[in-house]
């Protein structure tokens, strides 16, 4: 089992080395969303990591337009020259660049996309031996993680603890509060939903984090049972100095008191996100009005005009003709069904007509309760 952490300097790397950590993520300022290090600083870290026989992984997760990617591509190649053999990437351009321009392997950041097995299989097939690992998104359910393990057979990396990034814009939106400086602000929604965020502005734009932090520490054993071997902890935004040590210890022992201690020190609200279940699609059925669907035969058309006690106007959309005395069934948008016998049939010049024709507008006698957009069928 492998615990992976971020490190920004030699002291941090050394501490991880002492604790037996074998792999560290390095974050160049030009490539990584929250990176703070220049090329030379990253170079120093890479050399130190390699000297300690640890594995340096460069994070390249900024989404880049053409000018930006051209500006940083040289830096990426220089990391390869320094001995970096793995990049964590999200952007399709970055994936292609690493695949085509370097010999490095790819740790693919699943992100908000790639939420089905076909997508994961696509990347496995496309990258072939170059795909080292899939970095599973915090939004993935336990069921989906299990499904990837079973169907894709690719090493997975799971986030155990860290912040939840909910939105990312390249625009710097806190200038009026922070000037051009990097910084963080608490953001509270004044409208529906008790939304509270933590907004970070840096050179790459503005990032919104959910007010609760992500933790699967309680599920560590379940994940191990799924044969997950790689776990990541991201403490870049937390200042408790000895938390890393506690986490490494807990990772090895899974001691309940150790977990309690971590949570006490952590002090932030935690959530497992969508790990247990994801019902964020449940709302869709409510948004779709089933009563506005044509789910019966003998469709005539749609009510487009209603004048109380006088008439209904119907746009003839179907192939069924209607005439005087035809029996109709009319389904209202709120699900009521009304029956009507046609007593008169007129055209838009208010002349009596014998029957309707396709795409015409006809007028029939009024029936109470029928509203605009009701659907009209010939009654069996």
């Amino acid at each position: 089992m492998n615990l992976i952490l971020y490190a920004d300097n030699i002291d941090q790397i050394n501490e991880l080395f002492i604790q037996g950590v074998k792999e560290v993520i390095l974050t160049p300022k030009n490539l990584s969303r929250f990176g703070i290090n220049s090329f030379d600083q990253v170079k120093e870290c890479i050399n130190f990591v390699l000297n300690k026989k640890m594995i340096p992984v460069i994070e390249w997760d900024i989404l880049m337009t053409e000018n930006a990617i051209l500006a940083c591509s040289e830096e990426v190649l220089r990391y390869c020259d320094l001995g970096v053999k793995i990049f964590r990437v999200k952007d399709t351009g970055a994936i292609y660049f690493i695949k085509e321009k370097t010999q490095a392997q790819i740790d693919l950041i699943q992100g908000y996309s790639n939420q089905n097995i076909d997508a994961i299989l696509f990347w496995k097939e496309y990258l072939k031996g170059r795909l080292r690992r899939l970095i599973v998104s915090q939004e993935s359910t336990k069921e989906f993680i299990k499904s990837i393990v079973e169907k894709v057979q690719i090493p997975l990396e799971i986030s155990l603890l860290g912040k939840i990034l909910v939105s990312y814009t390249p625009r710097r939106l806190l200038v009026k509060y922070l000037g051009e400086a990097d910084g963080i602000k608490d953001v509270f929604s004044l409208e529906e939903g008790a939304s509270q965020f933590w907004a970070l502005q840096n050179v790459h734009g503005t990032f919104l984090f959910y007010h609760k932090d992500f933790s699967l520490l309680d599920y560590l054993q379940q994940l191990k049972d799924l044969k997950i071997e790689h776990f990541r902890v991201d403490l870049r935004f937390f200042k408790a100095s000895d938390l890393t040590l506690d986490l490494i210890k807990y990772f090895d022992t899974q001691d309940a008191s150790g977990l309690l201690k971590i949570k006490e020190k952590f002090q932030h609200q935690l959530t497992e996100g969508f790990f247990e279940s994801n019902s964020s699609d449940r709302v869709f059925e409510k948004l779709k009005n089933e009563h506005l669907k044509i789910n019966k035969d003998k469709f005539v058309g749609e009510v487009i005009d209603v004048k109380k006690d006088e008439f209904l106007g119907v746009l003839i959309k179907g192939d069924y003709e209607i005439s005087q005395n035809t029996l109709l069934s009319i389904m209202t948008p709120d699900g009521k069904e009304k029956f009507i016998k046609i007593l008169f049939l007129k055209n838009t010049s208010w002349e009596d007509i014998a029957s309707s024709s396709h795409a015409s507008i006809v007028y029939i006698n009024y029936v109470s309760g029928i509203t605009y957009r009701s659907l009209v069928f010939v009654k069996d």
Partner: protein, 388 residues
């Protein structure tokens, strides 16, 4: 870019909107089926309607693109195979897809043209080369890409490039926002976006719409685009009104036609765009990168002209039949937006219902008759002129 100017791609949120988009000058319309799209609440097209829409568009030499742009989970893939095969049978011109799993699936079972959706956030030529390798025909670029960059991506990849030219903008990179997921348990990447970015927030002691973007408007940059080899320009807004659709499509159609005729741009189109609801315009990232000045700080749109209705029937010499979309009074000044040319004023003094009875106030979701006006055509939009 067959005609020498980019293809104008407009939204078709319903069959009625599709007809309006085509009538006012769209070259292609993007629509969604009942599933797999991102606008769950829109009146999406049934399979039968997609077939009808395609026949309607093709008979007018226009194209239909069907969006399959949600990031689908495994359980959402049910029915996709049948849907794709149906689309192929219908001969739709392309599908607009965001998910690489869905793209590879479609490639396996059909020969449909595939456009990469903007949701996939393709922003550079390396991403485009990846897309080329897997058989994607066109890329709908992320809205963070400038005209210059789009031109470079096109030159390096050889793929068709489609650029957003008008409409609402996500503050976030498209497809990279989970505000609704965590705040409302609604998956924004599967059609549940709650538009929380438009909410009022408190930062320090200030109330601020800091995450709400102004709307993109690229009309003024058409000449630059004309020289850029970009293949298509996209108008955002399957959920937008008929009024918005007609006005915006017409403005860009006329702008592109002037470009084709090498005429200088007519300022009247800019004026027309000011008549539809907007969160103030800016040029997005088309020229320079958007900054904090791109925030729509007012929260609410300025009231502009409303649609009165759409002409459903013209009875030569007798009457026009108007499907009323917003209520108006007999004394209101109305304005017809013709498919080509300047708007024309009409009045509603002789307004009746269909049976010939006088109507003082035309109510929403009814039909009224107005006196016949020469040159008015079925499908024209009628607007209510705002009282100054």
């Amino acid at each position: 870019m067959a005609s020498g100017v980019p293809e104008l791609v407009a939204p078709g949120g319903s069959f009625e909107k599709l007809q309006v988009a085509i009538s006012y000058g769209a070259d292609a319309v993007y629509i969604a089926g009942e599933n797999f799209g991102l606008r769950t609440a829109a009146f999406n097209f049934t399979n039968e309607e997609i077939g009808k829409a395609t026949r309607y568009a093709h008979s007018r030499n226009k194209k239909i693109y069907v969006v399959i742009n949600a990031f689908l989970h495994d359980k959402d893939l049910q029915g996709l195979c049948e849907f794709v095969k149906y689309l192929e049978d219908c001969k739709v011109d392309a599908v607009v897809v965001s998910d690489f799993g869905v793209i590879s699936f479609i490639k396996k079972i059909s020969k449909l043209n595939i456009h990469l959706s903007t949701q996939n956030t393709c922003l550079n030529s390396y991403g485009a080369l990846l897309c080329k390798e897997i058989g994607i025909k066109r890329i709908v670029l992320g809205r963070e890409v400038s005209i210059d960059e789009a031109q470079m991506i096109k030159a390096k990849s050889g793929l068709e490039m489609e650029l957003f030219i008008h409409g609402s903008m996500c503050m976030s990179y498209s497809g990279n926002c989970l505000l609704s997921n965590y705040s409302f348990n609604r998956d924004s990447n599967r059609g549940g976006c709650k538009h929380s970015c438009r909410f009022l927030y408190q930062i320090d002691n200030h109330k601020d719409y800091f995450y709400s973007s102004k709307d993109l408007m690229g009309l003024e940059h058409l000449s630059l685009i004309g020289n850029s080899n970009i293949d298509a320009l996209k108008i955002e807004g399957r959920m937008k009104t008929l009024h918005y659709l007609a006005t915006v499509v017409k403005a860009y159609r006329e702008g592109l036609d002037q470009l084709k005729a090498q005429k200088s741009m007519d300022q009247s189109q800019l004026f027309e765009l000011s008549k539809v609801m907007t969160r103030d315009y800016f040029s997005g990232n088309l020229i320079t990168k958007a900054d904090d000045q791109s925030v729509f700080e007012k929260g609410k749109n300025d009231k502009t002209e409303d649609i009165a209705g759409i002409v459903l029937e013209v009875n030569e010499g007798k009457h026009i039949l108007l499907s009323v979309k917003s209520a108006f009074d007999r004394n209101d000044q109305l304005e017809i937006l013709p498919f080509v040319g300047a708007a024309k004023c009409i009045d509603a003094l002789e307004m009746t219902d269909v049976s010939g009875k006088n109507v003082e106030r035309a109510k929403t979701a009814t039909m009224v008759k107005l006196p016949f006006t020469p040159d008015i055509k079925t499908g024209n939009i009628v607007r209510i002129k705002r009282k100054k």
